[in-house]
Assembly symmetry: C2
Homo-oligomer: 212 residues x 2
DNA sequence: TTACAGCTTGACCGTATGGTCAGCTTTTAA
DNA sequence: TTAAAAGCTGACCATACGGTCAAGCTGTAA
């Protein structure tokens, strides 16, 4: 755009094209599902010939796997909020904020992830049985400690985690439904803030971390 | 099975075949998504020739629409729990029970519904803009009254509803993830009961309907 | 018994899709 | 300057899919 056809570095070309393709793919996979997505659709959205996609990603499955792994990384990063926290108020608040931000900024990625899990996690089974399980076990331990230290009521840590996942993820996966019920308009900044505050208040109060 | 080829009534034939096809279709759509599902797969699972499916359901879209409408009916029925209730404890408890029962008994239907909404509700848009909106507005009004009557804290009714939907639906849509984290085994009767109780306690306490 | 309507199905068709490839252009490094 | 490596792409292919249809079968009602 700026410079008239400055020669691109190999590295740049690769990085840029892979990025372009991944962004397009994420959107198409989110909108149509794996089965409904076509390489042609992704290529059109990326503004590249279909054969070019196959140069960077040998198969549709490989491209899909890349998209799913990408969002999984983001998802795991949000996990860190949990660690440094001194108690449930800090930790869970930060986690809800982080997950809601993901739902807002990466709704397509969230949908792809949800779709993947819903269909039995054909490509992510390994991750789920290793990384995800470890992560979950770690947080369960943290929550258990909070309960021992009387920082919250004795709530089953796993079901609490599911509740956090479900509630935050819902704003991405069911965003269309929420939008429809919101008069066809996306949630405003204010509404997102209210959503976060409601979730935090109900859950933190519900587990006895905040005074009722 | 019982009688050796007793001649079937026309009505019976139709009802039975439609039922068989719908059951098979629900499963295949849930597992593969609309795009990934094939009429052949559904036919095989139903134990009928593919051409026979097209006799009862002209197109894949029509079959899909029937499946989605079916689950939507069930979904709406659970709504009634809300109505007769005298307060949030009764109403929300019953609703959580009903929705969790749906997640347990109709996980495939739940997934199809989730998938449909995630992909922008191409066939259900009308329902969402009429039936679902009316239903939602009605419950919002009920919750608002409960708040006025000081039966619960002033929580935003919409975000509370989303929380109920999300949390209960999660056990169907992300059932595979939950199962994986449960050591590869489905939740037991006891675990389902614990799930329900945890959700109820956290939410009802969180909205100030139960004493902390 | 018969004639008709509804049900069944193997064979078939057009199309769209994932994937391939040969030949071209551009970058790179010596 | 040059030759190899990397990137690009139009044309092509085999397959699988949704859908059709004509011919046969079966329940129904007179």
């Amino acid at each position: 755009m700026a410079e008239p056809t400055r020669p691109m570095r190999r590295q740049e070309i690769r990085r840029e094209n892979e990025k372009t393709i991944l962004v397009a793919a994420e959107k198409v996979f989110a909108e149509a599902g794996f089965g409904g997505a076509t390489m042609q659709l992704i290529a059109d959205l990326a503004g590249l010939p279909k054969a070019n996609l196959h140069y960077y990603f040998a198969t549709k499955e490989e491209l899909y796997r890349s998209v799913v792994q990408n969002i999984f990384e983001i998802w795991l990063q949000a996990a860190n909020c949990f660690d440094a926290a001194r108690g449930p108020i800090d930790g869970i608040s930060a986690y809800i904020d982080a997950k809601m931000e993901i739902s807002r900024r990466h709704p397509d990625g969230s949908k792809v992830w949800a779709s993947e899990v819903m269909h039995g996690a054909p490509v992510l089974q390994d991750y789920m049985e290793s990384t995800l399980r470890e992560w979950t076990d770690g947080r369960v331990e943290i929550i258990r400690r909070w309960i021992e230290e009387a920082k919250m009521d004795p709530v089953d840590p796993r079901h609490l985690l599911y509740m956090l996942w479900a509630t935050t993820q819902h704003y991405a996966d069911f965003g269309h439904q929420i939008e429809t019920l919101n008069g066809g308009k996306p949630l405003s900044d204010r509404q997102w803030r209210e959503a976060k505050e409601n979730i935090k208040r109900v859950i933190l109060t519900g587990i006895g971390a905040l005074p009722a």
